[in-house]
């Protein structure tokens, strides 16, 4: 298959960059300073607002499965953010409702939320089948259940992460309609505009994936974010070199990338 050699080389190169950055951070040789991200900061603000209003917090980790070829990363990042949101909700005394679309995500989300409630000393507040609710694996079945839940419960904070498709706007607009403060994230470039216009804060593309490292209790994990930036610098260098080579009539780089 065309592009396999270049895929292997680039994947290995980027992996090494990220692992080196992670190692340097874990050994405290170089711990990068990462700017405060308004969207991530807004998560605790939204949960706090819900607690003050005495209304629940809702969370969707998306409609993709945990082994989806395209959006598994989104689901994994959403589950990390769910861990953080659940912790914030328990600490502030807000009721948390997690809406699940995919059966494979259900036991993972249940385990995460249950562990958080137990770790924070409030296991009795976790209600089986109610805190983490399974709605439907059908896209519109899930959307109608989630929308109904937002209206019935009158949520004050709504978090939409993971892989969302055409239902994204329905969920986000409903959240805006019920007056919830909304934070969302997606790598689906077709749904990002929907989230951006309808939500208060949106983690655009890789921001959602980086949030998983950002929210980790281990500061060394931020090293990976630095590794990502190094990989992006390599990409920029490849684009500039490729443009220069193509202008000079050389096809060395484009041939390599197709190999």
């Amino acid at each position: 298959m065309a592009g396999k050699l270049s895929w292997v080389v680039i994947t290995l190169l980027f992996s090494v960059l990220m692992l080196v950055a992670l190692y340097l951070a874990s050994k405290k040789i170089y711990v990068p300073q990462i700017r405060e991200h308004a969207g991530i900061q807004a998560i605790s603000e939204a949960v706090g607002r819900a607690a003050e209003m005495g209304r629940p917090v809702s969370f969707s980790p998306g409609t993709s499965t945990i082994y989806d070829a395209k959006y598994a990363g989104d689901t994994a990042a959403a589950l990390r953010i769910l861990d953080y949101v659940a912790r914030q909700a328990v600490k502030s005394g807000s009721k948390l409702i997690v809406g699940i679309a995919q059966p494979t995500v259900l036991p993972v989300a249940q385990a995460i939320v249950k562990t958080v409630y137990t770790a924070e000393g409030k296991p009795e507040e976790y209600v089986e089948g109610d805190t983490v609710r399974f709605f439907s694996p059908d896209q519109w079945g899930f959307a109608s259940s989630y929308v109904g839940m937002m209206y019935r419960e009158g949520v004050a904070a709504n978090f939409l992460f993971g892989g969302h498709a055409a239902e994204a706007l329905v969920l986000a607009e409903t959240g805006a309609d019920v007056g919830a403060m909304q934070v969302s994230g997606s790598t689906n470039v077709y749904q990002l505009p929907m989230f951006i216009v309808a939500c208060d804060y949106t983690l655009i593309g890789e921001d959602q994936l980086a949030a998983a490292a950002y929210l980790s209790p281990d500061p060394a994990q931020k090293g990976v974010v630095f590794g990502q930036d190094l990989a992006k610098l390599v990409c920029v260098a490849l684009i500039v070199i490729g443009a220069l080579l193509a202008t000079m009539g050389s096809k060395i780089l484009s041939s390599f990338l197709k190999s």
């Binding site: 992996s15 990390r80 249940q110 790598t187 959602q208 980790s216 990976v224």
Partner: protein, 210 residues
């Protein structure tokens, strides 16, 4: 998840991930067979997980019905519908049977289409909020959106042939450049997250908070 089980799950995750990755990079029949089996297992486990979902639904809605909580008749409808669907599938022996197909085409399809159609109204209300020129960024968004609308709507070319061209320049240069930058970042971000999951630094996908 306790420590020992988390370690076992991490080890399985590492082996499975590397097998799938290697299968993509190296052409080997044994590896290919193994990777195909692993992918099939994922589908089978997914089907089993549906049982967990059904249990969760029955638990929640059964509780709502027994307590006569608010809107409990809807829970009855949900459970009855679920039973009817499962029974029809089991009795006819196929989800492509005329009976199953009739239920799907008569109930699910129209409702799904209606929900999808609602997007048009939601787009209108979201656009109204987004295009309020409250900041310089919103003004840029508004101007770009107007040119793109004039590019796509026939009236743009009728007013002036220049208007669709401006829209095309915005779409081909600003739009495509931004989109590609976004996609490169997403690819690298996915690789970073995958790497952290594979080496056991990210444990939430295994169901355990740190």
């Amino acid at each position: 998840m306790s420590g020992i089980w988390r370690s076992v799950a991490s080890a399985i995750l590492l082996v499975v991930s590397l097998t799938i990755l290697l299968d993509f990079a190296v052409r080997n029949p044994t590896l290919q067979g193994l990777a195909t089996d692993l992918n099939n297992w994922a589908v089978v486990i997914g089907a089993f997980a549906l049982g967990l979902g059904a249990y969760s639904l029955i638990l929640r809605h059964g509780r709502i019905i027994s307590r006569r909580a608010r809107m409990w008749p809807y829970s009855v409808i949900l459970l009855v519908t679920m039973v009817v669907f499962v029974a029809t599938g089991l009795i006819t022996g196929s989800v492509s049977s005329p009976q199953y197909d009739w239920i799907y085409s008569s109930f699910i399809m129209p409702v799904s289409s209606t929900l999808y159609g609602m997007n048009a109204f939601f787009i209108a209300s979201a656009s109204y909020r987004a295009f309020k020129a409250r900041s310089w960024e919103a003004v840029v968004l508004l101007v770009a959106a107007v040119f793109l609308m004039l590019k796509n709507a026939p009236i743009g070319g009728v007013i002036s042939p220049v208007l669709p061209q401006i829209g095309t320049v915005i779409w081909d240069f600003a739009g495509a450049t931004g989109m590609r930058a976004l996609l490169i970042g997403i690819g690298i971000g996915t690789l970073a997250l995958g790497l952290r999951v594979i080496i056991g630094q990210e444990k939430t996908p295994l169901g355990g908070a740190e």
